[in-house]
């Protein structure tokens, strides 16, 4: 039987993901700090370490059978994958943030919004009927207002400390998101028993 390939998000979700898998007896055989591909000690699973934004791509295209990714990435990428399980960790909010003291509807002008999530941002402001110019950044989005690059940002917030440290505050919440288990549509059919076993075991652990 071929190994089940699971794409994992590097970064903030990795440690809680590995901890969750360890609780159901799936432990990495190699140090994940040093390798991008490693197998579980029982040889049944192969983990692929990829950038969070790439996890849905790996899974949708069938390079991985399943993956763990933040709900924010799923909202932004909108890949055609199954989402059978909310993993309950990695809770965060996608918010619009502005310099402290600025009101959301202060002047009615075209606002420039810096973000790593252009699709979500554009969709949100469209539903709010607020015209904006979106500026796509790869990181350190909080810098954009203080440097004059943008008026607002749309970003992920866990505690709000980073926002506050950069003189920003949330002015609207777009969505809340947690880590999700995602599954390739074809793998769900061709490797159903193994995938359902994984979902069941994770689900039981999460409900404890």
């Amino acid at each position: 039987m071929a190994v089940l390939r699971i794409a994992l998000s590097k970064g903030r979700l990795l440690d809680p993901t590995l901890a969750l898998f360890a609780t159901i007896g799936i432990a990495p055989a190699f140090d994940p700090d040093r390798r991008l591909v490693f197998e579980s000690t029982d040889g049944k699973y192969r983990f692929l370490l990829v950038k969070p934004v790439d996890v849905p791509t790996y899974v949708e295209q069938g390079a991985a059978d399943a993956g763990v990714v933040g709900g924010d990435v799923l909202l932004e990428t909108e890949r055609d994958v199954l989402r059978p399980l909310d993993l309950a960790f990695g809770a965060c909010r996608l918010v619009v943030a502005a310099p402290i003291g600025e009101s959301a509807n202060s002047d009615g002008q075209l606002h420039r919004v810096a973000t790593k999530y252009p699709r979500i941002a554009e969709q949100f402001f469209k539903t709010q009927r607020i015209p904006v110019e979106t500026i796509v950044l790869g990181g350190s989005v909080e810098l954009a207002p203080s440097t004059g690059l943008a008026d607002w940002i749309v970003d992920l917030v866990e505690t709000g400390r980073t926002l506050h440290a950069n003189n920003l505050e949330p002015i609207a919440e777009i969505a809340s998101a947690r880590a999700q288990l995602i599954v390739n549509r074809a793998s769900q059919k061709t490797r159903r028993a193994e995938i359902e076993d994984l979902i069941d075991r994770l689900g039981r652990e999460l409900s404890c």
Binding site: G62, D86, R185, A186
Partner: protein, 391 residues
């Protein structure tokens, strides 16, 4: 040649591109099942399509003929042809096709514009035997391509349609329910249905749809979820088709699967998809679409399927034609004799090429290696030499 060029040229030099091998095998199969191939122009009048369909493909224009669209699919063309010829040709019609359809990517990061498909349509026949014919052909097709571990998942859109109709959900909620079902998001689905003013039985049935996959027990499980007459009728139709399939020795297993809720407005009866562990995408799609022909003329029943040729070729490419090639070498003055010799060899099912460049020995060896030339026939002696020994 650097390493990048070497790799690129090795990838770009298939003697028989896998897509053609797949199409050839499917064409042979379709022919053996008495399906007649229909060729359609790549450019179709835009008037053949609805605005939504035109949004999903490419349009071009010229001053002479006006606007035209790159064909986005084949089934609608077959249906239009069937409607055009009317009932002059006794039903059922068996039609097949193979070629490219064109789709405008729906996402900015998508790069798939051209889709190679080969498929069959059985028009003017309803009932389980017609459905079973298409599914049997689909099963044999997957085997003919060499997908020995493939499986076909068979469902019926009438079941989910009836459950939704009887649930009295608003259109907006129904859309969300179907989105959640489509991505198997059971927790969110349960939470949403709990907040609706519907019976717990109905809510339970909608969530339990995600469990309805497996062997014939699935039908009993599904019957226990509802007493809606339309849902039970759909299950009876599915049962009848599955029973026919079970009584034959199909090379590809059929799995009953009522978990797929997409495409429920296009299909009208059975629907199915084929999967292979080597591909992350369905390699086959099909079903009954009795409402389509009515858009072009008199309505009549139809069922068909399409093989996703490029998906198959990309992930589970069948072995290409490895049969040996004979090269006929001859002095230019001996051209008539060379033609006669080649004709005789081809009549014996050999693949024969001419040495039109009169290769020097070292060039001949390179050509043999590159083009799988196993034997060289030298005129005027006519003596065949093995490739290993040179000429």
């Amino acid at each position: 040649m650097n390493e990048l060029n070497r790799l690129a040229s090795s990838r770009n030099a298939p003697i028989f591109p896998a897509t053609l091998v797949v199409e050839d095998r499917l064409r042979q199969l379709f022919r053996a099942w008495a399906y007649i191939e229909t060729r359609f122009d790549v450019l179709q009048p835009t008037g053949n399509y609805t605005p939504d369909e035109l949004d999903r493909t490419y349009t071009v224009s010229d001053t002479a003929s006006g606007a035209a669209a790159l064909r986005p699919d084949f089934t609608s063309l077959v249906a239009r042809e069937a409607a055009t010829i009317g009932q002059a040709v006794v039903r059922p019609l068996r039609r097949c096709y193979a070629g490219s359809a064109f789709r405008r990517p729906q996402r900015v990061d998508e790069r798939r514009y051209e889709i190679r498909q080969a498929g069959v349509e059985l028009i003017g026949a309803c009932g389980p035997l017609a459905d079973a014919e298409i599914l049997s052909l689909a099963s044999e097709g997957l085997a003919a391509i060499g997908l020995e571990t493939a499986q076909i998942h068979l469902g019926h859109v009438g079941f989910i349609r009836a459950l939704l109709r009887s649930s009295d959900l608003t259109d907006d909620v129904e859309r969300v329910v179907c989105d959640l079902l489509a991505r198997h998001d059971r927790p969110a689905l349960s939470a949403l249905l709990k907040a609706q003013a519907i019976s717990s039985n109905t809510a339970n049935a909608l969530v339990r749809i995600l469990d309805l996959i497996g062997n014939e027990d699935v039908l009993d499980q599904a019957r226990r979820l509802t007493d809606e007459p339309d849902a039970l009728r759909a299950l009876a139709e599915l049962d009848a088709v599955f029973d026919l399939l079970e009584r034959t020795d199909l090379p590809t297993p059929i799995i009953l699967d009522l978990t797929e809720v997409r495409d429920r407005s296009y299909y009208t009866g059975i629907r199915f998809e084929g999967f292979d562990p080597a591909s992350g995408f369905p390699v086959l799609r099909g079903g009954r679409y009795d409402d389509l022909l009515g858009q072009y003329g008199a309505g009549e029943p139809a069922v068909g399927c399409a093989f996703e040729v490029d998906r198959i070729a990309a992930s589970c490419a069948p072995k290409r034609d490895e049969s040996e090639v004979l090269l006929v070498r001859f002095p230019p003055a001996q051209w008539p004799e060379a033609v006669a010799k080649a004709r005789a060899l081809r009549a014996q099912n050999h693949r024969v090429a001419f040495d039109v460049l009169s290769f020097a020995p070292e060039d001949l060896a390179a050509y043999q290696a590159a083009h799988r030339v196993n034997r060289v026939v030298v005129l005027p002696s006519g003596k065949a030499q093995r490739a290993e020994g040179g000429c």
